[in-house]
Chain length 82, copies 2
Amino acid sequence: MKAYVYVSLKKSVLDPQGKTIHGALTKIGFKGLHDVRQGKYFEITLNGGITKDEAQSEVERIAREVLTNPVIEEYRFSLEDQ
Amino acid sequence: MKAYVYVSLKKSVLDPQGKTIHGALTKIGFKGLHDVRQGKYFEITLNGGITKDEAQSEVERIAREVLTNPVIEEYRFSLEDQ
């Protein structure tokens, strides 16, 4: 089973990296962009023999306790059977 | 309209950052992980008044030409109406 975890800065937190990418894209000719924000993305492959519910809670814990800084970041994740 | 671009290392490319996260997670007690890979994730908000087809080709170009290093990385993206 595979889990995809997406960690991004909270909406209320400034994202200078995203702003820089936005500025660069506009400068080289990509018009029509309103905003760019950058985040992190983790692809976790779980061992077989784990149920979907177990995977759900395990990945939730990993995302919440390890991959995300709760002060400035938020996460979402999805599971995919293989 | 929003575009989500996911950039990850090609399967054939070693991912030391992912390996480190995998090692750390195992060490602090998360068993049952087979592999962890890390990538980047971009959330692009497009200005209104752009058609889905235009957005598709614009975002495809941004992902291919700017956000991805084609030698070692691959990308996928999705669009979302708002």
